[in-house]
């Protein structure tokens, strides 16, 4: 079979599989960036002993457990605590002084995966004396990731990198003040979790659920095609208070988005934007 034909069939199979997932399980991956998704689906083929995406589709439709497993392949993102320390440093130096002026603060971590960023923000806000009046909404579409995030348990061998990032992010305390280590893992302090609410939420299909002062959504939009990016950014715009803040990943920008006109650059090099006045 000519290469072009094979490639076309693979594209058709991928579209059909995503349609099947949407209709049966109501997870919508149809507007995700297809090149990344393709890589993940190809590695899932091996895991589920399937030769083609058509075979995988058959299993996904008839065996819910296969779908649950596939969801891990399609959504789980491993991040580090205080990934891109300069982002957290900019939040600390430029955004925190403005957050401080509010009597109560709401933060939304959209696409929180296994929670690294949620705990990073909670620690930062604690160091700045703001955690007591802050509520952090942490949302994701993957229920297993949300459960892991809620546990606040990470492998001990990742903690050295977390600690170094924390220091570079202007940490005012020792990261070890916030966890206890046992059996090769660390468990973060329950007191941090009292300020977090974990919830299932899809940027593709759900709507705004709260009004917030800061949204951190990093390295999530890069998995979306442009229309879905615009939808998510529209949600962020609607969820933010007057002059609220939006933080994106270090290589994400509003430059190619229809939403660019609704935000001002705030700390551009760290991808922190601020909602424009008047809308």
């Amino acid at each position: 079979m000519p290469h072009k034909t094979k490639a076309r069939i693979a594209d058709i199979e991928q579209r059909l599989l995503l349609d099947a997932i949407y209709h049966q399980y109501h997870y919508d991956f149809r507007a995700y960036a297809q090149a990344s998704l393709k890589r993940r689906l190809q590695s899932a083929l091996t895991q589920f002993s399937c030769k083609t995406l058509s075979q995988l589709q058959d299993r996904v439709l008839h065996e819910p457990a296969v779908f649950t497993g596939l969801l891990q392949y399609l959504t789980v993102q491993v991040s580090d605590m205080f990934r891109d320390p300069s982002y957290f440093l900019a939040l600390r130096n430029e955004v925190v002084p403005i957050l401080r002026t509010y009597p109560s603060i709401k933060v939304w971590v959209a696409g929180c995966s296994t929670g690294e960023e949620v705990y990073s923000l909670a620690i930062l806000l604690h160091e700045e004396g703001l955690l007591d009046r802050t509520l952090i909404y942490a949302t994701d579409i993957n229920p297993h990731a949300l459960r892991a995030a809620e546990q606040g348990v990470f492998d001990l061998d990742r903690v050295a990198a977390f600690t170094e990032n924390h220091a570079r992010a202007g940490g005012r305390s020792s990261l070890s003040d916030y966890y206890t280590a046992r059996y090769g893992r660390v468990v973060f302090d329950k007191a941090l979790r009292e300020h977090m609410v974990f919830s299932d939420h899809s940027l593709a299909t759900d709507s705004v659920f709260a009004e917030v002062h800061l949204i951190s959504c990093r390295n999530v939009l890069i998995y979306f095609e442009r229309d879905l990016q615009n939808r998510a950014l529209g949600l962020f715009h609607d969820a933010l208070v007057h002059r609220g803040f939006l933080g994106l990943g270090s290589k994400e920008s509003l430059r190619f988005s229809a939403q660019a006109e609704h935000f001002d650059d705030f700390v551009l090099e760290d991808r922190i934007y601020r909602k424009k006045a008047g809308r």
């Binding site: 290469h3 960036a33 890589r39 993102q77 890069i222 442009r226 430059r255």
Partner: protein, 221 residues
């Protein structure tokens, strides 16, 4: 197939190549310094480069190459439309992929061959996106990232070039790519034929630069 390859003077359906993807690791920056400044204004293809870099530092590639190149040089951004005659570098700690449009897309999926960006990730997605309208070039390096990707470009009918291992300061990467092709086909591959060949062209950095200029003169690049 050999007969048609010998007569081919064009990409399989006539148009020019739309992109050149280049991958390299240790020892490759010196080769890029031979190749990239020679790319002429008016190039019909976009040039997209993955070089293995330290993950936690800002890349200096744009600063290094912008003043030396005739083409506009930039670091790839997510969702950026790909423009002919522009040169893009993958940012450190992100995979770079080609998505429909064609646009550049980034991901933070797990490192592949201990590398992010990974050459295989770029090459395989580019082979999907560009098919036989693609030139793939694999340079010096100390691991086997890029070998599978180059094979994918070759399978899709693209034009493939591997740096001659004898000219590479780290021959592991070019050798890993060539190991995927039978020795005999490597010897048979004509040194200057565009279009489908039985194996990648094996060329020194100077010869790769000359090949780009030649393909441009033939209006294929």
């Amino acid at each position: 197939m050999n007969a048609s390859a010998a007569h081919a003077s064009n990409t399989p359906d006539g148009g020019p190549y739309q992109a050149i993807v280049i991958g390299g690791s240790s020892g490759a920056i010196d080769v890029l310094n031979v190749l990239l400044p020679r790319l002429p204004v008016g190039l019909r293809a976009a040039v997209i480069v993955v070089l293995h870099l330290p993950r936690d530092r800002r890349s200096l590639l744009v600063d290094i190459f912008r003043p030396r190149c005739a083409l506009p040089v930039q670091e790839a951004e997510d969702q950026q439309p790909i423009q002919a005659g522009h040169l893009y570098f993958a940012p450190p700690d992100y995979h770079l992929l080609i998505d429909s449009g064609p646009r550049l897309a980034l991901s933070v999926d797990a490192p592949l061959h201990f590398s992010r960006p990974s050459i295989d990730v770029l090459f395989e997605s580019a082979a999907d996106g560009y098919g036989d309208k693609l030139v793939g070039v694999l340079l010096s390096g100390a691991n086997d990232d890029g070998a599978a990707g180059l094979a994918a470009i070759h399978a899709a009918g693209g034009y493939t070039i591997v740096q001659d291992p004898a000219s590479a300061s780290m021959p592991t990467m070019p050798e890993a790519a060539l190991a995927r092709f039978p020795r005999q086909t490597l010897r048979q591959t004509p040194s200057n034929t565009p279009g489908k060949t039985p194996a990648p062209h094996v060329l020194t950095p100077e010869a790769i630069a000359a090949r780009f200029v030649q393909l441009h003169a033939q209006r294929l690049l």
